[in-house]
Symmetry: C2
Subunit: 334 residues, 2 copies
């Protein structure tokens, strides 16, 4: 009897059946006035599909780590979002994909940058974390490692979508026009004029019923990007961070500013060292620090008690959450 009681107590201490999953599908100039009801419904369904996949795992007692990976895979497979299938094209007409994942329990992390033939880059990031002693791999080396470790390899043409190809053609046309009028060495930068080139990213953060946090982020980067540019998504501490003692964070936005601020880790550090709430820490960084440097974007974060935030200073952010009590929502606009 005493043994049974002690066992039940131990179980209660380990799990409280409470879980939460929060996702984003990118932030930017997303205005209701520019959206059709059909397109809006598609985006919402895409977000819902991702929440369903991840929460199913959490509900069945799976880990936050498995949940965020499964969630990101759904978003990567959905061509509406700039990650996996649906990724934007580089200046050379390629799709170069970045992803990262972090386990708040162990502080283990994995990331890949610039992979071109891995169907789900988040699985490659997970393989780097689980099956190597490295954290980050890039380019051909990362592709080789992913292939050797069971990730699905596809022909790069798998990532082709007409919409993203047309985006590249538009970007190149704009470049040519700019080059005629301005300093051509700056033509590739394009951010000041066309903010939405930067914001395609998907992310997920979760708290599982064992109290573990995890975060994952995946992106196709920036349309027309050149020079092997790496943004914040595959950078642990910038686009992604998770620590069971504080929070799990996934970012989306103008990546360069998120790197310069070590955005995800700083949210965690504000909680740890300044004792801010997850919402206050995220809002301070996204609403104040980020715009003070000239950047914009958003982030999702969940803390160890299940409090969460979806902070952004853009017109919209594709986002949603689901909690163990059944409460769930997907949203797009401010």
């Amino acid at each position: 009897m005493l043994v049974a009681f002690a066992f039940a107590t131990a179980l209660t201490a380990q799990t409280n059946s409470k879980y939460i999953l929060v996702i984003h599908g990118g932030a930017g100039t997303i205005l209701k006035s520019q959206m059709t009801p059909e397109k809006e419904a598609l985006y919402k369904q895409g977000l819902q599909n991702a929440l369903d996949a991840g929460s199913k795992i959490l509900k069945q007692g799976g880990t936050a780590l498995d949940a965020v990976e499964a969630t990101i895979m759904v978003l990567e497979n959905d061509s509406l979002f700039n990650a996996g299938k649906g990724a934007v094209f580089t200046n050379e007409g390629k799709n170069e994909l970045d992803a990262s994942i972090m386990d708040g329990k162990t502080l283990k992390a994995g990331a890949v940058a610039g992979v071109t033939n891995i169907k789900n880059p988040i699985t490659a990031a997970r393989a780097v974390m689980d099956k190597s002693e490295h954290v980050m791999m890039a380019g051909k080396g990362a592709e080789l490692f992913a292939a050797q470790n069971g990730c699905t390899v596809v022909d790069p043409s798998y990532f082709f979508t007409t919409q993203r190809w047309n985006d590249l053609l538009d970007a190149k046309r704009e470049d040519s026009l700019k080059a005629l009028h301005k300093d051509s060495t700056k033509a590739f930068l394009k951010q000041p004029d066309n903010h939405d080139y930067k914001y395609g990213t998907v992310g997920a953060v979760a708290l599982d019923m064992y109290g573990n946090l995890a975060a994952a982020t995946s992106t196709g980067g920036m349309t027309d990007k050149r020079y092997g540019r790496i943004g914040d998504s595959p950078i642990i501490g910038a686009g992604t961070y998770a620590d069971n003692n504080t929070c799990a964070v996934s970012c989306t936005g103008w990546g360069e500013y998120f790197i310069r601020l070590s955005m995800a880790k700083t949210v965690s550090d504000r909680m740890e060292f300044a004792h801010e709430s997850v919402k206050d820490a995220a809002d301070e960084m996204i609403m104040k620090k980020l715009p003070s440097l000239g950047g914009d974007g958003g982030l999702i974060a969940v803390d160890k008690d299940g409090n969460f935030t979806m902070s952004f200073d853009t017109d919209g952010m594709y986002r949603g959450y689901i909690k163990s009590d059944g409460e769930s929502k997907v949203e797009i606009y401010k």
Copy 2:
């Protein structure tokens, strides 16, 4: 007269003539018992040359940013250190170089990863910072950008040194032996048995007489590395960080652990949010957090008031500093 007085006051407010430069040339199992007096003298001279180059700039009223770049160039050009000339070889027999730089005044930063033909990778990182709106570029794209922006291009054979080539042959021999006895998929990891493969990095942090902080780091990575592995050196927030409000940091050690801890940014955050001194913040991270995860290494950091630290939990760290009052030292062992 009043005008002249006001002008003099303004100058005094802007500069206090106080500056400091701190450098490292890597940490690891550096034991006096394994060093000859000749070799020790060479290392010390190499460190002194770097301090001389950087402090000359600071003394003449140059910026911390220019000083750390010039300092790193000297260390990159010295084949004793694993950065630039003297870089270790990858598994494929190549030299793949990483570097990053950050300006504490503007929080601007630049980094390159996996470049093979840029004589001084730190100049490529600086070019990314100054001449693009990006923070990080990798591989061929980074090389193209660097070449287009005035960095000196060399044939990859420039980086060949007999010592490093022999290191690779040793590593491969060890791999083969391991593969015979152990799980061959883990043979490439080699860290547990051979710690010193990880620690070759050079770094510099400086405070200039205008109160600006800057940090820079450069490395050839890990002998026999595979899969396009990226360590902490080119990761802003991990291997390098600078913020005029707190400190400038450059790290060296087992890179994966430094990424997982966002080492450099966390030192800054501990100062900002927990109000720790630069020494306490660095020691807490290097002496406690890092070994608690199983990693080791060291870092150098200087704060906005010129206080500095050179923390490491290894047997030695090539290191040195020079202050505007003339105090200077180069050291190797614990």
